[in-house]
């Protein structure tokens, strides 16, 4: 009887939690935007599911026939270690850690263990965990059907990998809340990559042996699950310990130092805002991680390098263009949301909307110009075409994408919580699907133009055409700004209203 009652209470509690989350979503002021973002999110998810399943179905054939490898399972195991390494990185940037309004729940009669358990478990069926199955299941079925593989061995191999996937899941939650773990894992990954790059150490041998042993000795699959349980309880204990307003939920106060940035005075009236934005970037964790994420864009050009035969030169161009757009796409996408917490102040100060927006634009332009310069130096070893591509992309980013981002910002009414390192459950992710969405129209057009130019003439003409559009955009600056200001003015009151809600 007693236990039945307990189950009933527990079920009720779960229901209550879920309904709270439901309300938070549907009653949020930016619901319209949320809906669209949700639809696109689902579209993305579907896309990845299809791709992953296709990969799972095709890899048997690809490995045995195209690569002429006899044992496809052995082959996959060879590279699994890299798959997991990349997965940790992807998770860190794309997966949001669980968010729950903890403080309000602390003094309600809900057991602390239940709060933590709910926060940790509600993401168990996250896309980042499930997606692995879409590869594993078709791949394993084919191994079983076509190859001569032991069903028990395959089952235990699958279970082991699933266990490891969940280990990365909980590890990600820890990484997001503990910088020490973040840095040590990052260092570990860089070390692995470095050792592999300079061919000092071949990880594939060990990866192969390790993962293949799960197939050969099914009992070994228990090991990842044992580690998983250990990690889960570590995470659990970490959060449980943090459920006090003077420990984990404490607002950490850093000692402040005055920053004058007098060297910025040369920018005249603009410097007033540049100084503040610089302080924002250095002092707000959220802004800092966003800008750091943008820095990684510089290296985007390496992704498609040496692979022009496979992807075509327009993909390389796309990568070069992206390499100068880090700040634009990462930081710029949140203009004016960065000012959301004090937007009323900005709207009352002795500065016209036009000047305010121009100052934001100038910041983005300045950063893009610097990134273009850095990227063109970085890729100069690739020859004149690479330099031209970087510069053309940079001009396009400045002359077109700068406006587009700013213009889109008038409609992006989600407030940014600058102090979101307030508690370990807080949302401090800078990179999300919404930001990714706005970038689509900004990229397809120039790549298309480049493609046409390089296809009918040559690569340099393609670059020139893209650069020309950018220059055209720059000459129309005043006209475009009039429109942008108009949009911002029309949206002003609803933006102010949306920013009032801090979530």
């Amino acid at each position: 009887m007693f236990s039945l009652r307990l189950v009933y209470i527990f079920a009720l509690m779960i229901f209550k939690f879920i309904s709270l989350q439901w309300k938070a979503f549907f009653r949020s002021a930016s619901l319209g935007g949320n809906m669209i973002a949700k639809v696109f999110t689902w579209f993305f998810l579907l896309y990845f599911i299809v791709i992953t399943t296709a990969l799972g179905l095709l890899s048997y054939k690809l490995i045995t026939e195209n690569l002429e490898v006899e044992n496809p399972l052995l082959f996959v195991n060879k590279y699994l270690i890299y798959a997991f390494a990349y997965w940790i990185v992807v998770r860190y940037f794309a997966q949001k850690p669980p968010v729950l309004n903890i403080r309000a729940l602390l003094i309600t009669p809900v057991l602390k263990t239940h709060i933590v358990r709910y926060a940790l478990n509600k993401s168990v069926f996250s896309f980042f965990n499930i997606i692995a199955l879409f590869y594993l299941i078709p791949f394993s079925l084919l191994l079983f059907k076509k190859g001569d593989y032991e069903p028990y061995g395959l089952l235990s191999w699958n279970l082991a990998i699933l266990g490891l996937v969940y280990i990365t899941h909980y590890l990600n939650i820890l990484i997001n809340n503990n910088n020490k773990i973040l840095y040590s894992i990052a260092a570990g990954l860089i070390l692995i990559k470095g050792l592999e790059y300079f061919s000092i150490f071949d990880f594939t041998i060990y990866s192969e042996a390790l993962f293949y042993s799960f197939y050969e000795t099914p009992l070994l699959a228990l090991l990842p699950w044992a580690i998983l349980i250990f990690v889960y309880y570590r995470v659990f204990a970490f959060f449980k310990k943090g459920l006090y307003i003077d420990t984990g939920l404490e607002v950490k106060v850093k000692e402040a130092t005055l920053q004058d940035y007098t060297w910025l005075n040369r920018f005249g009236k603009l410097s007033t805002f540049l100084k503040n934005d610089l302080r924002l970037i250095t002092r707000s964790k959220r802004a800092r991680s966003t800008v750091l994420g943008g820095v990684f864009f510089l290296f985007y050009g390496f992704i498609f390098m040496f692979q022009e035969q496979t992807f075509g030169s327009f993909m390389t161009f796309f990568a070069y263009m992206f390499s100068s757009g880090g700040f634009l796409f990462m930081f710029g996408a949140y203009v004016p949301s960065w000012d959301s917490q004090y937007y009323p102040l900005m709207m009352c100060q002795n500065i016209h909307y036009n000047e305010y927006l121009k100052s934001k634009w100038s910041l983005v332009v300045l950063a893009t110009a610097v990134s273009t310069l850095l990227a063109s130096v970085l890729y100069s070893f690739q020859g004149i075409e690479a330099i031209c591509a970087v510069i053309a992309g940079g001009i396009y980013n400045i002359g077109v994408n700068g406006y587009l981002t700013l213009w889109a910002g008038a409609y992006t009414k989600s407030p940014v919580d600058l102090n979101s390192n307030k508690n370990p459950f807080g949302d401090k992710k800078a990179f999300n699907v919404k930001t990714l969405l706005i970038t689509i129209p900004q990229i397809i057009l120039p790549v298309l133009v480049y493609f046409l130019g390089s296809h009918y003439f040559n690569n340099l003409i393609g670059c020139a055409m893209v650069g020309l559009i950018g220059v055209l955009g720059l000459t129309l600056k005043n006209k475009i700004f009039q429109q942008i200001v108009k949009t911002y003015k029309a949206e002003k009151y609803s933006t102010l209203n949306a920013y009032k809600q801090n979530s």
Partner: protein, 232 residues
């Protein structure tokens, strides 16, 4: 002069502000009292063009605030913590506001000297960002920032609430001092009728968005307001 002309603000049929006509002459120290939901902050927000009235116009010294941004050059305000930039140190915040109002660092420093008493050593020269200051100290910084750059119109929402007694007395003295200057129009709202009667030359009482009383402050004013709020 500031005039509200036939102002009506409704949120889905619920009227939060309904003022036929309200003029505040230049130099007046104007107090706004009323219970929660009376429309005090809504009134100030409409004057600052932070909300758009459903009907009517707000004219600030000849400028229709929803049509032109020129009022920004002579108007300052501190309504709540959304007027603070959390990641700045108080000094940096003052310099920022000062720069926007055409004052350089030295001029801001010179301006701040007179408030040393009020700051009580807790605002300047500390090692904290605005976001880490106590609510009371945040309010002090915000109110003083609203006085930088010789504004002609100063709007303060609940400036005396949540302050310690000493600060309240000092801040009231500052506002009284301003009321002597016939160039500055000061608009203050408060829940505390004693504070407003002490500081303001004229008091308007709002209820459910309407002007219920409009009185020139006299020794009887406090009694009059008290009896109203008692429900007599």
């Amino acid at each position: 002069m500031i005039s509200f002309k036939k102002i009506l603000k409704q949120y889905s049929k619920q009227t939060v502000l309904d003022i036929d006509s309200l003029d505040i002459p230049k130099g007046q120290t104007f107090g706004l009292v009323g219970n929660n939901g009376a429309g005090k902050t809504t009134l100030f927000s409409s004057l600052l063009d932070l909300i758009k009235p459903t009907k009517g116009r707000v004219i600030n010294n000849g400028v229709d605030v929803s049509q032109s941004e020129d009022w920004k050059s002579f108007t300052t305000a501190f309504l709540d913590e959304t007027f603070l930039i959390g990641y700045l140190m108080p000094e940096e915040y003052f310099y920022f506001i000062g720069e926007l109002r055409g004052l350089n660092k030295k001029e801001v420093d010179a301006f701040l000297v007179q408030f040393e008493d009020l700051f009580h050593g807790e605002i300047l020269g500390g090692k904290k960002y605005l976001r880490d200051l106590s609510k009371g100290n945040q309010k002090k910084a915000g109110v003083i920032a609203a006085l930088i750059g010789e504004p002609k119109v100063v709007i303060l929402d609940e400036p005396f609430a949540n302050l310690d007694p000493t600060t309240q007395i000092r801040l009231k003295a500052i506002v009284k001092d301003m009321s002597k200057n016939k160039d500055i129009t000061v608009l203050v709202s408060s829940h505390d009728i004693q504070d407003v009667t002490e500081v303001c030359e004229r008091i308007v009482l709002l209820e459910k968005g309407r002007v219920i009383k409009d009185i020139v402050t006299s020794p009887q004013t406090l009694k009059e307001l008290e009896s109203y709020f008692k429900g007599e």
